[in-house]
């Protein structure tokens, strides 16, 4: 260290640029993309193996007649058959679309309501004191509890479904934003203020972008709650005129004592929930975290 300082001392001015370039080069961390092989063995393979294992155990339970009652536990083959039939009759995508379109539209409305609500709670002290605790308390209320009153208020229709989704997702989204805002480092607010970002400018340029990671986490949870609420509403309030979504499919299977159909519905509900998260919310979250250097590799 001493020798570096002496060499730097010998010449002045003109050498500074070179010295600085050298330091920059030494201290800059080189990051490359993870090789595909590594992603395959560490990220993709393990969940596939886990799924295969579950299927194997399931098949074994049926094959070795440990559970020997198709009305209780259908074989994986039987469930596959039901799925294939639904696909061949062109009904499968209809079931999925009915539920997914409801879920996403409901989530979109929840986004429109939850975001300003969260901002209001986060930024206005009186509002925060008044409804902050209620908002976080609402998260622990299972949204299925809203189905009976929603049916009574709105009747058996799509509005009822949307109402239940909203009641499930809005608190999550608002709470995500509130916790995102309260975790904004005070340093950013001070830096923003010295740059002239006060009031609404400060909210728009500093607070909102700084709160984005918390907000995205809230969105992720909000989607999970939307989907769950919707399924609860579809199962409890199934009504032929509403079209058959995945929840109704499950309820229909129960009414027909068709366990393969029940399993089909459960698998679809699970798959769709995971797929939406994997296709939309996880990439969004990863992108937000990675661009800020918050995603730890490994």
């Amino acid at each position: 260290m001493a020798s570096t300082e002496t060499t730097a001392k010998d010449k002045d001015g003109g050498d500074l640029a070179g010295l600085e370039a050298g330091l920059d080069a030494l201290e800059t961390v080189q990051t490359g993309r993870t090789p595909f092989r590594q992603t395959l063995t560490q990220k993709i393979l393990p969940p596939l193996v886990a799924v295969a294992l579950v299927l194997a155990v399931w098949q074994a339970l049926v094959s070795f007649k440990i559970v020997d009652d198709p009305t209780k536990l259908p074989s994986p083959g039987a469930v596959w058959h039901v799925l294939r039939e639904a696909w061949l009759q062109g009904e499968l995508l209809g079931y999925i679309w009915t539920s997914v379109s409801r879920g996403l539209l409901g989530f979109f409305f929840a986004l429109l309501i939850g975001t300003p609500l969260g901002l209001l709670v986060a930024r206005v002290k009186v509002v925060r004191a008044a409804i902050g605790p209620i908002l976080s308390g609402l998260q622990s209320l299972p949204s299925v509890a809203w189905v009976p009153p929603a049916v009574i208020w709105l009747g058996l229709n799509n509005s009822m479904m949307y109402a239940v989704i909203l009641l499930g997702a809005v608190p999550s989204i608002a709470n995500g934003l509130v916790s995102g805002v309260s975790q904004v480092p005070p340093l950013f607010l001070r830096a923003g203020r010295t740059l002239g970002a006060t009031g609404l400018k400060g909210t728009w340029h500093i607070v909102l972008p700084a709160a984005l990671p918390g907000y995205v986490a809230g969105l992720k949870q909000g989607w999970a709650f939307s989907w769950r609420s919707l399924m609860a509403a579809e199962i409890i309030a199934s009504f032929p005129d509403l079209g058959v979504g995945l929840g109704q499919l499950l309820e229909n299977g129960r009414n027909a004592s068709d366990m393969a159909m029940v399993f089909e519905a459960i698998l679809l509900i699970l798959t769709v929930g995971i797929a939406i998260d994997l296709l939309i919310f996880s990439p969004l979250e990863r992108w937000v975290l990675r661009s800020r250097g918050l995603l730890v590799k490994g």
Binding site: D12, E20, S291
Partner: protein
């Protein structure tokens, strides 16, 4: 007050001072009632002058800087500055959701610079801190020294007459800090900014400043000040820097010792 460099005398703006601090006191509500942090501070920073505020912990030097920055109000006294000052912190305080260049552009935007000029101006500022080509870099991709240089460029983007610096190099390693001292001196001489620089590092204070102001602790008062007549370019290991540092350190130690006596 006499400055060794002629350039400060020919004046940068029309104002006679970049910052004027008059009889400023500040107290905070503490567990033992009102606690006086700053006591009757009077200090002028002339246009183009480089002043360091030096003191041990608890001397209220950061508090004073916050007051000058307008982030807080004095309990008594008055502070006037020539326009809104720029402020640099010990942490880079760059916004991680923006690239290095966009951080600078945000400062320009908030100052009302038209959109089509921002990009070019940001590139110029990056070049000034010798980070040409770093516009698209994410904050976490930069080293500590590079981040502070981007932070400096962002502060310069405000085109303030006065730059306030709150121990901006304290978290850097010695080699990087040394290089940034050279860099800051160069930029200060090029831009003719006034700088009020807070530090607890005596050598750093002498290396950079035209005037060193020593604050006593609890409450912070101006204990003494020195005019640094050492010509530029200076090095932190220069004999002249070392000699003055020894003298100031003695004084600083005396100030600290007083607190152990009762």
């Amino acid at each position: 007050m006499a400055t060794t460099l002629a350039k400060a005398a020919d004046g940068v703006g029309t104002a006679t001072h970049a910052a004027r601090i008059e009889h400023v006191s500040k107290s905070f509500a503490g567990p033992a009632g009102q606690q006086l942090v700053l006591d009757d501070i009077t200090l002028d920073v002339a246009p183009g002058e480089f002043v360091t505020l030096l003191g041990a912990s608890g001397c209220g030097k950061s508090t004073l800087l916050n007051l000058v920055a307008g982030l807080d109000r004095p309990t008594a006294g008055a502070i006037s500055t020539d326009g809104r000052p720029a402020l640099m912190f010990q942490e880079h305080a760059l916004f991680p959701w923006l690239t290095a260049g966009k951080n600078i552009e945000l400062a320009l935007k908030l100052r009302g610079v038209p959109k089509n000029e921002r990009r070019g101006r940001a590139e110029e500022l990056l070049e000034l801190v010798r980070l040409k080509g770093a516009h698209g870099k994410r904050v976490h991709e930069l080293s500590g020294g590079m981040r502070q240089r981007v932070a400096l460029a962002r502060a310069l983007a405000q085109e303030s007459k006065l730059l306030l610096m709150d121990e901006p190099f304290a978290a850097l390693d010695a080699i990087t800090r040394d290089v940034l001292h050279d860099e800051l001196t160069r930029i200060w001489r090029e831009t003719r900014l006034s700088v009020l620089f807070v530090t607890h590092n005596v050598r750093e204070a002498v290396r950079l400043a035209e005037r060193v102001v020593l604050l006593s602790s609890r409450p912070g008062r101006i204990a003494r000040e020195w005019t640094v007549g050492i010509p530029h370019p200076r090095r932190i290991e220069d004999t002249a820097v070392a000699e003055l540092s020894v003298e100031i350190t003695e004084e600083l130690r005396g100030e600290i010792r007083r607190h152990g006596q009762h």
